[in-house]
């Protein structure tokens, strides 16, 4: 077999190559963000070298449960997503939009002109890359664009990772978002730690990615490694912990009056965890903050959740008073109405809302329950 049968945009690097990649990104003036071990969970944080990445950490996830374990092979990415999502960098949980002060004969409004960071995200999984595409559609490519999101997103460099070990609450395969990453990456890694040496296949998905890859110490991907990666990805797709019913959008549209909402509401605490860990939930509120003298005010935008009562307040009262209506709003928005609004599902099958729900409410199970309670085949 000839070398030419191997795609030219795929190379192979080792741990040192990955280290060089990280250092190159730092050298470009980027803030490199990748997996970090904190408070017993894999979250995200600054990465300066490959030694900052948690090695040999694997996660066990189930409805309402999460714990970490170690694995002797030293793999960097034999785990899936934790409670953090990438939106916290491009659409921060709290951000000052502008400030204002009383001026002679009026009001002066000052835009926030802080520089927008140039990020590189390392370890973006298929679900989360799909989530970035979803957020692009909402915050950048709609009639209005959020300037901060757009600017930081356009400057972003994405090092994606193909998942070879799916988690217990993952269902990206049934959402068409993984385990292999879709479009939108600059570089995509597939980790192969268990062969004779610990290597990563690197695929370039953009000009910037190609240029960066060209400068790394790499070797051509051999067919054995490619075949091993394919096999692992196929196995990962088969061994997902969960699955979303394919007709969920219609099931939910037809199920607005289902008695099942009341059943979910009996368990749902309305804690908003699911919306905070969701990689696509974009709802926000604004708060006006004044200084003590009352001369200056600023407007802060904060993440909000449709699970709070105040979310639907209009003069006189709250529209979604019950937990049933609020859960229904969240899941129907995510899986049905998102299609009407943005031409795509708002769910990418990452499974975070299942793992981090304190009472273990499972979006895939609730969708099935609505379908069955409605008596649809």
């Amino acid at each position: 077999m000839s070398e030419r049968a191997v795609p030219t945009n795929i190379r192979m690097i080792d741990r040192d190559g990955l280290d060089a990649l990280i250092r190159d990104l730092v050298g470009q003036g980027r803030r490199v963000i990748g997996p970090a071990l904190r408070d017993g969970a894999l979250v995200t944080g600054p990465v300066a070298s490959v030694d900052d990445l948690p090695a040999g950490v694997i996660d066990h996830q189930e409805a309402g449960g999460y714990h970490l374990d170690t694995h002797g092979n030293g793999a960097l990415f034999h785990n899936v997503v934790g409670p953090h999502t990438w939106k916290r960098y491009l659409y921060p949980p709290v951000r000052t939009l502008w400030s204002a002060r009383r001026a002679a004969g009026g009001l002066e409004v000052m835009a926030d002109d802080a520089p927008v960071p140039r990020y590189a995200f390392l370890g973006v999984r298929g679900c989360d890359l799909a989530a970035l595409r979803v957020l692009d559609r909402v915050l950048r490519d709609d009639a209005f664009a959020d300037p901060y999101y757009s600017a930081s997103r356009d400057a972003l460099f994405v090092v994606a990772v193909n998942c070879t070990r799916p988690g217990g609450t993952c269902f990206c395969a049934s959402m068409g978002c993984g385990p292999r990453v879709g479009e939108g990456f600059d570089l995509a890694l597939t980790e192969l730690p268990c062969e004779d040496r610990h290597v990563f296949l690197v695929e370039a998905g953009s000009e910037a990615g190609t240029a960066l890859l060209a400068g790394l110490p790499s070797e051509p991907a051999d067919r054995a490694a490619l075949a091993a990666a394919e096999a692992r990805l196929a196995e990962a797709a088969e061994s997902m912990g969960r699955e979303m019913i394919p007709d969920v959008a219609q099931v939910l549209r037809d199920g607005l009056n289902s008695p099942h909402w009341a059943t979910v509401a009996e368990r749902c605490l309305g804690c908003a965890n699911c919306t905070l860990v969701c990689p696509t939930c974009f709802c926000s509120t604004v708060e006006d903050v004044t200084d003590l003298s009352g001369a200056e005010a600023r407007r802060e935008r904060r993440w909000d959740s449709c699970f709070t009562l105040d979310f639907s307040y209009i003069h006189g009262g709250h529209i979604r008073r019950g937990g049933d209506a609020r859960y229904r709003q969240w899941i129907t928005h995510k899986l049905a109405h998102w299609h009407d609004q943005f031409g795509t599902s708002g769910c990418t099958g990452c499974g975070r809302c299942i793992t981090w729900c304190p009472v273990g409410i499972d979006i895939t199970e609730e969708a099935k329950a609505i379908k069955n309670r409605e008596g649809r085949a």
Partner: protein, 280 residues
Amino acid sequence: MSLTAAADPMLPEPFGILRKRRELSDTFTLELEPLGGHRKFAFRPGQFNMLYVFGVGEIPISISGDPDDDGPLVHTIRAVGTVSDALRTMEPGGAVGVRGPFGSAWPVESAEGRDVVLVTGGVGLAPMRPVIYHVLTNRQRYGKVVILYGARTPEDVLFRKQLEQWRSRFDLFVDVSVDRATGRWRGRVGVVTKLIERAGFDPHDAVAFVCGPEVMMRFSVQALNERGVADERIYLSMERNMKCAVGFCGHCQFGGQFVCKDGPVFRFDAIRDIFSVWEV
């Protein structure tokens, strides 16, 4: 890289209050002009602005002025919450922040050549006033024009003098009904939907614009349907919580629609499936 002000739809523009007029015990009208200098504020009937009161907050308020007039920006506001209360205490010379105009408009162009039926209730007459101005400016382009207005009591009848002026015209049919008669009221007593039953228009060639409390709009759509006005020719203006007005904040979602950018004016068949579903 930094953000430029012009590109940020969240950034309010300072406007000064030129005039303030008391309309009802809890409702008032503000006339605003940009502090950066006089310019025409272009908008379409039915659109709204976000009005910001320094240090208090921001609320969506529909524009109640004449879209074809070069004069100040006009908002009619009912004081029902923190920000609208704060606006009520403001006087000429004060300044507010304005973002907008936002949202969809009443389809006054596609209504040309047809009868136009405006069904309004309470402060819902305010977002409809730009339509009335527009139709009067272009009166020859429309068939019969019917303005039906319901209010709680005679004391709650908004724009009363204007309604009387419009009623005195031969080319408008204006009918007002109150839910509760008080004092010397000699007009109609009963629900606004009853006005729909008897108003003179061709139900098969009329376009109906409905604006008022959601319950009132529900009954009005039923009454219009009973007269034979099809859902595709009924438009209504919805209200939901709004924080951004540009589709980012998610608060104003109404099923698959955003009230801020897909609405506030919806063709009824676009929201029919969820219009009477509980707590949407």
